[in-house]
Symmetry: C2
Subunit: 231 residues, 2 copies
């Protein structure tokens, strides 16, 4: 029975990995469709939404079955509940990629406002955060999880920069307002993806240490993760 249980836990881990790869791809495609003004890429992200939702439901169902039938203790219990939480965060990240695409499809109806530099850069940062948060989960790597949490500030700063620049466009020429609004929302969606990656990082720290650190990540960032959390 123990070997079967281990196999089920590996299945859960594998689904999380597939789901993460899928939503990372959705983020990449959504911002590429915006930058390259390619509607086909945008449609691909929309078609992928059902896949994300399917993974999320599968994780919840397997997780609940394992909790009910296996009645796991300690580390296994934390692994299962963390996997379920990570599934929810990945699902919301997938939703945000869809939101990016919705704004992109509106923006593609109009000529480009400006060459895009900061938004693709933000997209790269948040994609790496999601990737590393999942890697930290798979490897139970607490240091990497803390590093992901610490990177949230850089994304926030980049988003503030995007916001200020777009506000300047809007103030300068009211015709730019609808397009600037679209880009501004896309910046916020990317910022929220970074927040979900941070949540995953916090779940990984909980998984490894057995202590809930959420809402403490801000303190953590101040000293680069060397502080011990009080829980």
């Amino acid at each position: 029975m123990d070997r079967l249980f281990d196999k089920e836990l590996r299945t859960l881990r594998k689904i999380i990995l597939h789901m993460a790869a899928h939503v990372e791809e959705s983020i990449a495609l959504s911002v590429r469709s915006l930058k390259e003004r390619n509607e086909d890429l945008a449609r691909e992200v929309l078609r992928g939404e059902d896949i994300t939702n399917g993974y999320d439901i599968a994780i919840d169902e397997i997780g609940m079955r394992l909790l009910a039938l296996r009645q796991p203790m300690a580390a296994d219990l934390r692994f299962i509940t963390s996997a379920m939480k990570i599934g929810s965060d990945l699902e919301r990240i997938g939703d945000l990629a869809v939101n990016i695409v919705e704004r992109t499809l509106e923006l593609l109806q109009h000529p480009p406002l400006k060459p895009l530099i900061d938004i693709p850069e933000m997209a790269r940062l948040v994609q790496d955060m999601v990737k590393d948060a999942i890697q930290a989960f798979v490897d139970k790597n607490e240091a990497l999880a803390r590093d992901v949490c610490a990177r949230d500030d850089a994304v926030d700063q980049l988003n503030d920069q995007v916001f200020r620049e777009l506000l300047t466009y809007m103030m300068g020429n009211r015709e730019t307002i609808p397009r600037a609004m679209g880009l501004l929302l896309i910046g916020r969606y990317l910022e929220r993806i970074a927040d979900h990656a941070t949540n995953i990082g916090e779940d990984v720290i909980y998984l490894v240490k057995g202590k809930i650190i959420k809402h403490h990540c801000d303190q953590m960032k101040d000293d680069k993760g060397t502080r011990q959390e009080e829980g």
Copy 2:
């Protein structure tokens, strides 16, 4: 032992109720501070953030302890995992009330853009959604939970209306842009609170029926909740 377990489940329910009352109050205060231009009310919401976080951690810790020590089956297991998910949603609702207040404190530095009608109306709708979603949880009332999910559309429509009106202000007079942006973001925060209330409604349906209905709520809304979900 069964009576002790029941008592622990009641404690969990009671904490959810207290937490929900606290975040409902935060939503109400945040929008009142905006409408009445009262900075003190805004500060009260900021002070309340730690309380929300404390409730969230308490729910997670009690939930994990019950899962580990009691190894609950079926309905009790669903109750505990639902409570943990609802705790996360309430925590995010609390964060969004804080976001409203952050924008409000910026807006209070400037003269009012316009009398506020739709945003307070949205706030009333979303507060009722949160209240009823929690009531549905406490009473295991599936019909009320489905009703909450169905109300999400009305909030989305009101937010679209707010968005269009503010865009008109921005296009007409660029000096209104920073203030209109602030109000526009507050509309989006309220819309996201409604999304979290809908998540709670979905969790309640899962709790009652034992089937995962998330991502199916949209279908449900089309026929006012009479359709049976396939899970």
